[in-house]
């Protein structure tokens, strides 16, 4: 119904100039006390709020940050997002969110949409397709336009910007070593395609742990699963045709599915076979047995990313890109011994 009241309306109504109104509302010394009181009272009465769009245009600052994530229905990303949202809110920023659906094309589209002035900076995690194609021109363009950008979790060495990552190698190493120390010897890895930087890092940690404990590195103890699939057969065969007494999974779902399969095959978890998964989501807390996991501290990751971004937006940092490493922690539940 009612149109929003603007400075111009107030000015006309009170028979002063727009500039006077603007100054009065900022309590400028330049304006007499009585004029200020009159204007402020009027503004309050009509619930005046400065128009953000006009401010953005004038200041060339939108106080918005854009977030592009591959999937919103995904525990890890939502926790990261929560961290971003909280931190950004504290510093007066709003968050626009786009979902790439793991698609390269949608990622590019989203970036173009956001980059047209709507946001002061971007936080993103690469889509699966982007990692597979290894094509980062769209990121480079954003950087060239001088729009600050922070990459988290799924990052790439090929683009120079601030990054927030997990110490994937170290924590995978630690996870595997924990299982070795509890007496396990035939340790498997269940992972995704290796173009995911996180998967290859975790594989690296897995291998290092085996080697440093004088264990054989066996190719057939590594199972590569498609990112999303309901097909259980490869899992079933994998655990039937190999003697395995411990498993590291690069995500929670893989771990739950594998645990389910081996239990149906008559093995006991963790006595016969231990499990550790990445992503400390709800599934881990409610599975049977409760899954031991690597907590990725998504919320802290999000906060860190937001801090890096906003710092760069507000201060001109001239390159000097930082990579912050979030330390994961191992959470022992009932799928590992001790």
């Amino acid at each position: 119904m009612k149109r929003r009241v603007t400075l111009k309306h107030i000015a006309k109504e009170l028979d002063v100039s727009v500039s006077t109104v603007s100054k009065a509302l900022k309590n400028s010394e330049e304006i007499s006390r009585e004029t200020k009181e009159k204007i402020q009272a009027f503004a309050k009465l009509y619930n005046y709020r400065p128009n953000n769009i006009a401010l953005s245009l004038k200041n060339k600052k939108t106080k918005n940050i854009g977030v592009i994530i591959p999937d919103i229905v995904h525990h890890f990303f939502t926790t990261v997002f929560r961290g971003i949202e909280h931190y950004a809110g504290e510093r007066g920023y709003n968050v626009m969110i786009c979902v790439s659906d793991e698609s390269f094309e949608k990622e590019v589209l989203n970036m173009e949409l956001l980059a047209n002035g709507s946001i002061d900076g971007i936080i993103m995690s690469l889509s699966a397709e982007t990692q597979e194609r290894n094509d980062f021109n769209h990121l480079q363009e954003i950087m060239d336009q001088g729009i600050p950008m922070v990459l988290f979790d799924r990052v790439s060495d090929e683009v120079a910007c601030d990054k927030v990552i997990l110490n994937d190698i170290e924590i995978a190493f630690e996870a595997v070593e924990t299982m070795i120390n509890s007496g396990k010897r035939k340790i498997a890895l269940v992972t995704t395609e290796s173009y995911f930087n996180v998967s290859s890092d975790r594989a690296q940690g897995y291998e290092k742990a085996l080697i440093s404990n004088d264990l054989q590195l066996e190719k057939n103890l590594v199972l590569t699963l498609p990112y999303e699939s309901e097909d259980e057969i490869p899992i079933w065969e994998f655990f039937e045709s190999n003697e395995i007494d411990a498993v590291l999974c690069v995500n929670e779902i893989f771990a739950i599915k594998c645990m389910d399969v081996v239990q149906r095959q008559g093995k006991k978890v963790p006595e016969d076979i231990s499990f550790i998964g990445f992503t400390n989501g709800i599934l881990s807390r409610y599975s049977t047995p409760k899954l031991s996991t690597v907590a990725q501290h998504g919320e802290r990751m999000g906060e860190t990313a937001a801090k890096l971004l906003i710092d760069r937006i507000e201060n001109d940092l001239e390159g000097n890109y930082k990579t912050e490493v979030i330390s994961a922690t191992l959470i022992h539940r009932d799928s590992t011994i001790n």
Copy 2:
């Protein structure tokens, strides 16, 4: 590094006026072919993109919609959000998202932030605190300002606007009746505080089903749990001190927790006791046994909400508020008989 190129830059460089550039880029008939070609080539070369902020100011349309949800790390809300994002994207809208964290104060703050010109309309689900306080002035103010708003799932009768809800009463009725038909007689309800409209609707459906099947409506077969709590004792006692052979839970987590408790008490699911939960999330699919649930079709809910909102933004509908009802469906897994 490089500043974004504007119409003014192009105009100066090509020695024409800003208006000519603007028209040329819109392929206006008014401009000669050669001039248009020259300008378009130049624009492409320097990767000109119109500034969204300037457009928003001029058109008084931002092509942004705001979404306020109580929690982002929550399966149902993320699926709704995905629906919103998809549909909005198709119609050329971006999404700004705010999280109220179930807090009244944050909800109000978020609305004020969004309402200052950043968005063309709002989609929201009420925070727990807002429902508890029963205070909707902030919603009314938004409506008074003429900003279109759509409420979903957690709605209130006290505010007149478009709404999207689930047929909670009917589906709860159906769920309970299904269990009755499989021979169950002592049917419990595990719910949250009744100021959640969805909980009270589900309770209503539960009661109606009992009554219409000539079963006793027993107060002590209703367990009210705090919204988030790790305390297991009330659950344990509830199932120990009552003879119960079937349970309807108003959310997934409650169901999983209860199933866990009764199984540790030595009862068999579903033979001794059946379970149906609301929210068809990942937990339901991977619990032991797999939980039978009410699928709320969050994605469709989100799409519907977005459609209602955008239709209202783009056409002046003058009141005539609609309430769309999404039909939930019962998914039978292993926590119910047959």
